[in-house]
């Protein structure tokens, strides 16, 4: 094995893959959120559809899309594989009496479960919007852009989707409340001056991003 594959198949190397892909996915969340905020514009989707058309056809964005798929792929594969390895490391016989809740937080112990909820959401979410836009002929709006806005409007008439989307944002919230600062620790980027700030930014980031995403289905269901 070469030193590179050895590095990234070691426990620390695999953790570094988790941290780098995790922070990359955080940057994706920012881009995705900023674009989607146009759903709240009172223009019946004109701006959102133009943005969506751009994202669907710009070659640079299409190239970045491949990076995004790889980022998700590595994060999900390594996340689930590490969770299985860690369960095996614990050994067959568990503790009869275990008070792990006295020394650690629930969400930090539930990253794989929270990630799996996000994964389930991701599949449904891609089916809802990405699948229709990429693989079917969607009606066009007055400007000739694919009418993604109406897809959103229709999807969020279904209360089941609204509930799933909101629950998934709670899962993502708790995933990131631990994950954001955890990634810095994994990368060895800790310092008594900056770590408290990283924690604070992580909390603010998680809450703002997830609340804004969760507001979208709620807004469409109740106000549109």
């Amino acid at each position: 094995m070469s030193w590179i594959s050895k590095t990234f198949s070691s426990s620390i190397g695999r953790k570094i893959i988790m941290a780098v892909t995790g922070l990359f996915l955080c940057s994706f969340l920012v881009v995705h959120l900023v674009g989607n905020l146009q759903l709240f514009k009172a223009d019946n989707g004109v701006a959102f559809n133009a943005y969506s058309e751009f994202m669907g056809h710009n070659p640079l964005i299409r190239a970045l899309e491949i990076v995004l798929v790889l980022g998700f792929g590595f994060h999900i594969y390594e996340g689930l594989a590490l969770a299985a390895k860690n369960r095996a490391a614990r050994g067959g016989q568990g503790y009869v009496s275990d008070h792990i809740e006295q020394n650690s937080s629930w969400h930090s112990r539930s990253m794989a479960m929270l990630g799996s909820i996000v994964l389930f959401f991701l599949v449904v979410h891609l089916y809802n919007f990405f699948g229709s836009l990429r693989f079917t002929d969607v009606p066009r709006d007055a400007n000739g852009n694919e009418d993604a806005y109406t897809l959103v409007l229709e999807a969020f008439k279904n209360p089941l989707y609204v509930v799933l989307y909101v629950v998934a944002q709670f899962a993502l919230l708790y995933h990131l409340l631990h994950g954001f600062s955890s990634a810095f620790q994994t990368l060895g980027l800790t310092h008594r001056k900056y770590t408290p700030a990283i924690k604070l930014v992580g909390y603010a980031f998680s809450i703002i991003v997830c609340a804004a995403f969760a507001a979208m289905p709620v807004y469409f269901y109740f106000f549109k």
Binding site: M1, S2, W3, K6, T7, S10, S11, I12, G13, R14, K15, I16, L82, K85, N86, A88, A89, R90, G91, G92, Q93, G94, Y95, V96, S97, D98, H99, I100, Q102, N103, S104, S105, S108, R109, M111, H178, S182, Q185, T186, L187, G188, L189, T190
Partner: protein
């Protein structure tokens, strides 16, 4: 007993103890009653009372590891009421006193659990995986010769203090026992950062971290997810900062060492 509290009332306790004949047999919890336990006893002295009782009855005493009984050797590894070294923070089992419990309590006592720490017998586990990790790189090579002058190598006080803090790890394994992932990263990181901080450790700095991490993985310990149970349960307070140092040392070594394999 000298220095004992005359008002302390002796306690009667129910113990739920993990009993297991050897590595290859299934174990299980067995209930015992112990009577007239002084609150001034240490947890291990309480187990001594139980064992004397068992010997008198002609039963097999409970095997448990212990050596110094003063909190420095790291042998006394018991998982007590769901916590490594019991409910008291910053203490080894041998330094845990019975006054932390009350008359009539039920106490569950189990061995460390981890695939890399097989149970030898009852509460005694095999922690030789830790020894093999240390053998892989947790040392400095020193040439023999005349006695060097004590102040020959200047080390700033702040660095010396941080290295000393990391050096206080007693290798007890509470970090592994408490971790949801049975990760040995806190233990490994304590040794790696201690020696990375000191000039004496710089000669083997890169090979040390590469080899210790490789051995840690080979022994079957899990990968850290930064949950923090380890540092919370560590009897000497090794901090999570050391794991960040370990990750950083590992990456830097992998990127710059001459080791191509």
């Amino acid at each position: 007993m000298a220095g004992s509290n005359p008002n302390a009332k002796p306690m009667n306790l129910t113990l739920k103890v993990w009993r297991q004949k050897n590595r290859n047999t299934q174990g299980g919890i067995v209930d015992y009653q112990v009577k007239d336990i002084s609150p001034d006893m240490s947890f291990l002295e309480m187990l001594d009372v139980l064992n004397e009782d068992l010997l008198r009855k002609g039963e097999e005493p409970v095997a448990f590891d212990h050596d110094c009984r003063e909190g420095i050797c790291g042998s006394c590894n018991l998982f007590i009421n769901g916590r490594a070294h019991g409910p008291e923070a910053g203490t080894t089992t041998c330094q845990l006193h019975m006054r932390k419990f009350s008359d009539g309590d039920t106490i569950t006592i189990e061995p460390w659990r981890a695939a890399a720490f097989p149970v030898n017998k009852d509460l005694s586990v095999d922690r030789s995986a830790f020894d093999r990790i240390i053998q892989a790189g947790g040392y400095v090579s020193v040439n023999t010769g005349g006695t060097p002058d004590a102040n020959e190598i200047p080390i700033p006080k702040e660095i010396a203090d941080r290295a000393f803090e990391a050096a206080t790890c007693i290798g007890c394994g509470a970090c592994v026992a408490s971790c949801k992932n049975a990760s040995a990263m806190l233990f490994v990181s304590a040794k790696v950062s201690q020696l990375a901080l000191l000039p004496q450790g710089h000669v083997e700095r890169k090979t040390r971290v590469e080899n210790m991490v490789a051995q840690m993985d080979k022994e079957g310990f899990g990968a850290c997810t930064n949950i923090g149970s380890c540092a919370a349960e560590c009897p000497v307070g090794i901090s999570l900062e050391n794991i960040a140092i370990l990750n950083h040392e590992f990456l830097a070594a992998k990127a710059t060492s001459n080791n191509l394999a």
